[in-house]
Symmetry: C2
């Protein structure tokens, strides 16, 4: 195993210092990595030369729209990607079957009946049960937190509980989407609603996954908009009686077969050692799934298409995976782990892009200290596009299962200013993304993947 | 007629200069206006002491929602305001009947059928005819401008023309909303669509008024979202055949009676001389009409409620008017002109707030140079809240008819950064406004209205 520079200080400065008495072995090793700068520059220049990745993503989302697990559009999109990957000349292009859950939204609506009639834009939450035919009509209790619900549990019986929880961080706020139905059902509620998980709204409902507990009655669970949640809360504070009619025809059908999409750039020397890079090909059933996560899949795919077209083939294999069913099951990531279990020892690194292909700043990495030093040093090759900062901690939902088996993992870090404005909404569309920012994502992941795949030794675990 | 300082330079500085030989007459007159500073400060302090105006607006929009011409909610909101104004102790509170057009939206939808099926969120445009029952199904021609339509007129026959015009300024872009149907029908189109008039979208359609020409066939005219207009344009550029199914049950019913809402603070010395201040009480039939223009009406109303509660009664009358039917007819502004024609000579000034009650910066004024000098000097009383800058040009739609009869007019100028994000959409809701910014609007209009109404002489025409 070689040692690498710890900092992002300019390599030329290091090289000049090296002449002042640094041991020869350190000198040679620093230059080892510096040897990659010309190829890194070539990759960056090529990625930024055009809008190829953005155009490919545009074609994907315009042709197929959203790609929800169990939908025809997802499987047709997978067929198209496989065909395009073959046309690109990639290696070992294939779909790997994955058994996936099938949740269907069905007709749904929410209507405020008292104190006055208002249509409330809403989205049922993934995995929720439906209402009885004809819907549920009940008084609403608005609470600001699980604690408030607990304190007012006696008021919740027979009502629809609305969690009007302002967005702080995604992690803190999404707990009400995940666990709101269980908490409300425990208090005897007949249905539960959440304020959409977002810092900004234009009367925009946000969907997402939720869960039940085996020991608690399953009640319908849906998201309404920030605006309407706030309005209902104001009405309650004014002492008004609030009545909502909720209808959801949501249903869970038998599991079906989807596919993880795979293409490779086979390595020249250790083809059985693998750098995995990807995102998830499925999306929610609204919008275009352009940033969640069409952009991630296409950017990863473009990494090896670009390397292939440049004639750059590293020592190890780079494998692109478009995981299926991230949004409402994670079955793609789990199936990949199970099917490739024998290979996981030789998975050198897993890279995921699932935070939108906005302006990248670097990666969040989870792995050994020795590996962290190496990827930090590789990051310095990205200084010219300011996307090489490596932080500790990170990964991605789809690579989580293999990371838990010991594979070092990293997630692409990007400007997240507006990501949650669009997350899981009808407004997750291609026009919110920028061709150059997406190209920077491709450049950033391509340099990292290429160099890790080409190093003399695999990343240390 | 008195003369006033021309600039916003601090009055103390002027006063000190006055001692250095400025003619006595100017000295006396500058001090005349400076005499208003204590009362202006008192008004500002009172307006900023609480969130009364924001709370009143919240109650209006939560209780009645949007207030479209011809709707029950508009008339009920008017009844409520009249009752509240009487409880406030205002003078001459009354509704003045106005015959208004009644346009009803009805069920409506747009669906992309080819190259793939997509629901296109849309809003029919005010005054549009509907489609035949069952809708219109036709190929789409996307153009970027009237010029492009003219150049491609032979391609438009029998099609739905979509104007995909990026937002530049409201004035330049709204021409396609107003006149798109006429231009498309001239080219033989069966219906017309516009890209919503907005610089920002979360799949948000924007409605608004449109017009027909007597000599041109009337075709249905609706707005789709920025996202979908862009997508259809991309599809056309890729050579794909685009087919849309448009259904609109829009209809125009017989005229009905609505009301302009009026309340006064009668003047102590020249009660027949009037400063009019107001906004429009009607809104579009989506959202809450919180910024367009509930905020303007309530802020103007709060001006005289505040002066009344402070015991500040100027020499002249301040009359608040909530005009009806601004959005799709302007009949309120026209009826006010006609009913008060005999009084217009004694209308000293008309002030309108119809750009949202965001952070105010001053007023746009249209009147004589002499009057401009005076209102500019009054503006200096607002220096401490940075809302006293008077620019030339301005007014408002509702006060337009009386301004054209010679009444000096001004429009409240505010931070317009996000106004058009919400304009005429379901997202025009109270949560987008800020209590302190709205209080600043009240303070700004109250100082201007009070001082103009109390000056020894009326504003010169």
């Amino acid at each position: 195993m070689t040692m690498f520079r710890r900092t992002n200080a300019p390599l030329l400065a290091v090289a000049s210092m090296l002449g002042l008495g640094v041991p020869a072995v350190a000198h040679a090793q620093a230059l080892d990595l510096e040897d990659y700068r010309p190829v890194a520059d070539r990759i960056i220049d090529a990625a930024l030369a055009d809008s190829a990745s953005y155009e490919r993503l545009t074609e994907l989302v315009d042709r197929f729209g959203h790609r929800f697990t169990g939908s025809e559009s997802l499987e047709r999109a997978i067929d198209w990607i496989l065909g395009e990957m073959r046309r690109d000349g990639l290696d070992n292009v294939r779909g790997e079957d994955v058994l996936v859950p099938v949740w269907v939204r069905g007709e749904e609506s929410a209507e405020l009946l008292e104190p006055r009639r208002v249509d409330l834009p809403m989205l049922g939450l993934g995995r929720s049960v439906g209402t009885p035919p004809g819907g549920v009509t009940a008084e609403v209790l608005v609470v600001s937190s699980f604690d408030e619900l607990e304190a007012r549990a006696t008021e919740a019986r027979g009502k629809i509980v609305l969690f009007n929880v302002p967005f702080t961080s995604y992690g803190r706020t999404v707990r009400y989407r995940s666990g709101g139905a269980v908490a409300a059902a425990r208090a005897g509620a007949v249905a539960s609603l959440i304020r959409s998980v977002t810092p900004y709204s234009q009367l925009t409902p946000h969907t997402g996954a939720m869960r039940y507990a085996d020991t608690v009655r399953r009640i319908p669970h849906a998201a309404i908009t920030v605006e309407d949640a706030e309005m209902l809360h104001r009405m309650q504070r004014r002492g008004e009686r609030i009545v909502v009619h909720l209808t959801m025809a949501a249903d869970t059908l038998p599991d079906a077969v989807s596919r993880n999409v795979i293409g490779e750039l086979r390595g020249t020397e250790q083809p059985d050692e693998i750098v995995v890079i990807g995102g998830h090909i499925d999306s929610w059933d609204v919008g275009q799934g352009a940033m969640d996560d069409g952009g991630g899949v296409v950017a990863a795919w473009e990494v090896i298409r670009l390397l292939h077209d440049l004639g750059l083939r590293p020592r190890r294999t780079i494998r692109v995976v478009g995981w299926t069913n991230e949004e409402n099951g994670l079955r793609g990531g789990l199936a990949y782990r199970d099917r490739h279990r024998d290979e996981l020892e030789r998975h050198v690194l897993a890279i995921e892009s699932d935070a939108g292909v906005f302006k990248p700043s670097g990666f969040g990495f989870r792995g050994s200290d020795a590996a962290f030093e190496i990827v930090t040093a590789i990051g310095s090759l990205l200084d010219r596009i300011e996307s090489g900062e490596i932080r500790r901690g990170g990964g991605g939902a789809d690579i989580g299962p293999i990371m838990r088996e010991g594979v070092p993992g990293m997630g692409l870090r990007v400007d997240g200013t507006r990501y949650f404005w669009y997350h899981h909404t009808a407004a997750d569309t291609i026009d919110k993304l920028d061709p150059r920012e997406m190209a920077l994502c491709v450049a950033t992941m391509a340099v990292m993947a290429y160099v890790v795949a080409d190093l003399p030794d695999p990343l240390p675990r």
